[in-house]
Amino acid sequence: MYSNKVMDHFTHPRNTGEITDADGVGTVGNPTCGDLMTMYIKVKDNRIADIKFKTFGCGAAIATSSMTTELAKGKTIDEAMKISRASVAESLGGLPKVKMHCSNLAADALHAAIEDYKGKLEKNKEAKK
């Protein structure tokens, strides 16, 4: 039911784990619904220098998490914000219809992590003032 690319990312997920001193952390989903994702980003010169994820979920959830980190790595913050559920699914060679919505949260988690980073940046600026 899954494309070869999905299976590749499921069996060899890229960038799993945590970043303990992350600049931004985003969590989306709910274990009750069967999907929970956390994205950790490290930002340098307005670019995503490092990114890691932790995911509780099905094959699609793990593969989209992995693909999202790969797409985001090295991108500027603005570019990374443009990564969408659709572009993640597309990069994976498509997802089964039933999985398109429920297990395709990784882009949301990335955006949440970036928002978290921006929020912190703002706070730091405030603090410096």
Binding site: Y2, M7, F10, T11, P13, T16, G17, T27, P31, T32, C33, G34, D35, L36, M37, T38, K54, T55, F56, G57, C58, G59, A60, A61, I62, V98, K99, C102, S103
Partner: protein
């Protein structure tokens, strides 16, 4: 089937079973030579009719029914459940419009009951304990004078727990109701005796006894009357019209005969493999628990839950290593809801999502179990390492 070199271990027998070669062998003549319609007057018809009656006898023997005519052939367990519940409810609507069933029934029972709401019936889903055993006190409370039908699963294939049908029967009959039992998963694995168990109607599945899919039966106690679901030519004593699925019914009879002769030794064999597998998963892997009752349990059923991870990703990993099982996870189902059966035992949603069901069959050996025992810890470990959901002590 895509062929590849890895070993293939099918352990999803509660979903579907291969048909025994001996069963296929008796079916074949009914495709090409004995293809008459049992209602036909000539010998092609009469020999088909005779064969149906022989099958009826084989099945009635397996469940110790009072006579072969108590067996009504249907298209499967779903139809038998629908026929039993709707047929009894509507037949007895003047006497009462409440149905009592359990919280761990198959959807064919659940939805048959719900479909009757529009016709003025209500249903109470009686609770189970953490092992999936019916709470008999609550059951008794739930059966009131309006209740003429109680429907209980003999053993649920997902969790394996076997209900005390005998005790349930006593309660139901004391209260003046009839007992329908869904023996889809049980019949063929454990001795089922409609007489001793005090069963009024019982659903039997053919594929669950290594016969073909698409055929089943309803046992209907001799004196009982129900309304038919399918109207037409009056086959099956008018209770189930439609030209009989002759070849499959012949296969059903053979499957029942084989089961009657071999069930005892086969179940013993499976229990050993089952218990070694359960121990081999629960003991070495932390935060892993058995679903269902440890002893009152179907011989084929290994149902466990691994906390902090999700079932579909376990299935996917297993399949990559050639092991085909199932899960209570929403992601592996069409409904996108975790199994109501697991939730009824008090499991949290995330626990239900992390459930793995292994159901063994005639082809499985201890070697298969050993392979699975070796395989799973690594899978669980890998997935847990990826999960944000580990408790403090599991975190790295």
């Amino acid at each position: 089937m895509t062929t590849n070199n890895i070993r293939q271990i099918y352990v999803d027998h509660s979903a579907g079973k291969p048909v025994d070669s001996r069963v296929v062998a008796v079916m074949l003549p009914y495709f090409k030579v004995l293809y008459g319609n049992p209602s036909s007057f000539h010998r092609f018809g009469q020999e088909a009719k005779q064969a149906l009656d022989n099958s009826r006898e084989d099945i009635s023997k397996l469940i110790n029914a009072e006579k072969p005519e108590t067996i009504i052939f249907t298209s499967g367990a779903t139809e038998s459940n629908n026929l039993a519940i709707k047929g009894m409810a509507i037949r007895n609507r003047q006497k009462g419009t409440k149905i009592v069933t359990s919280a761990i029934e198959h959807m064919s029972v659940v939805n048959s009951c719900k479909s009757l709401v529009r016709q003025g019936f209500q249903t109470t889903f009686s609770p189970v304990d953490s092992y999936g055993l019916l709470d008999l006190v609550k059951l008794e409370e739930n059966i009131d004078e309006q209740t003429k039908l109680v429907s209980v699963v003999y053993a649920n294939g997902e969790i394996g727990t076997i209900q005390p049908i005998n005790e349930i029967s006593e309660i139901v009959h004391k209260k003046g109701a009839y007992l329908h039992v869904d023996a889809t998963a049980a019949c063929g694995q454990i001795p089922v005796d409609v007489n001793k168990d005090g069963i009024d109607l019982m659903t039997i599945s053919c594929n669950d006894m290594y016969g073909p899919k698409g055929v089943g039966a309803l046992y209907l106690k001799d004196s009982l009357r129900i309304d038919p679901l399918l109207h037409g030519g009056g086959q099956e004593r008018g209770l189930r019209s439609g030209t009989e699925n002759v070849s499959s019914i012949i296969g059903f009879g053979k499957a029942a005969e084989i089961t009657r002769l071999e069930m005892r030794s086969e179940s013993k064999r499976l229990v050993k493999i089952r218990d070694s597998l359960i121990q081999g998963l629960i003991d070495p892997i932390s935060y892993t628990f058995l679903n269902g009752h440890p002893k009152k349990r179907l011989p084929d059923n290994v149902s466990v839950r691994f906390n902090f991870i999700e079932g579909e990703s376990i299935l996917l990993s297993l399949a990559l290593s050639g092991v085909f099982a199932s899960s209570g996870s929403a992601c592996a189902a069409k409904t996108l809801q975790p199994s109501h059966v697991l939730l009824a035992m008090g499991l949290k949603h995330e626990e239900a999502h992390g459930s793995l069901m292994i159901t063994l069959g005639r082809q499985n050996t201890q070697k298969d179990a050993d392979y699975i025992k070796e395989l799973i810890p690594g899978i669980i470990d890998r997935l847990r390492n990826m999960s944000p959901l580990t408790p403090k002590e599991l975190k790295k």
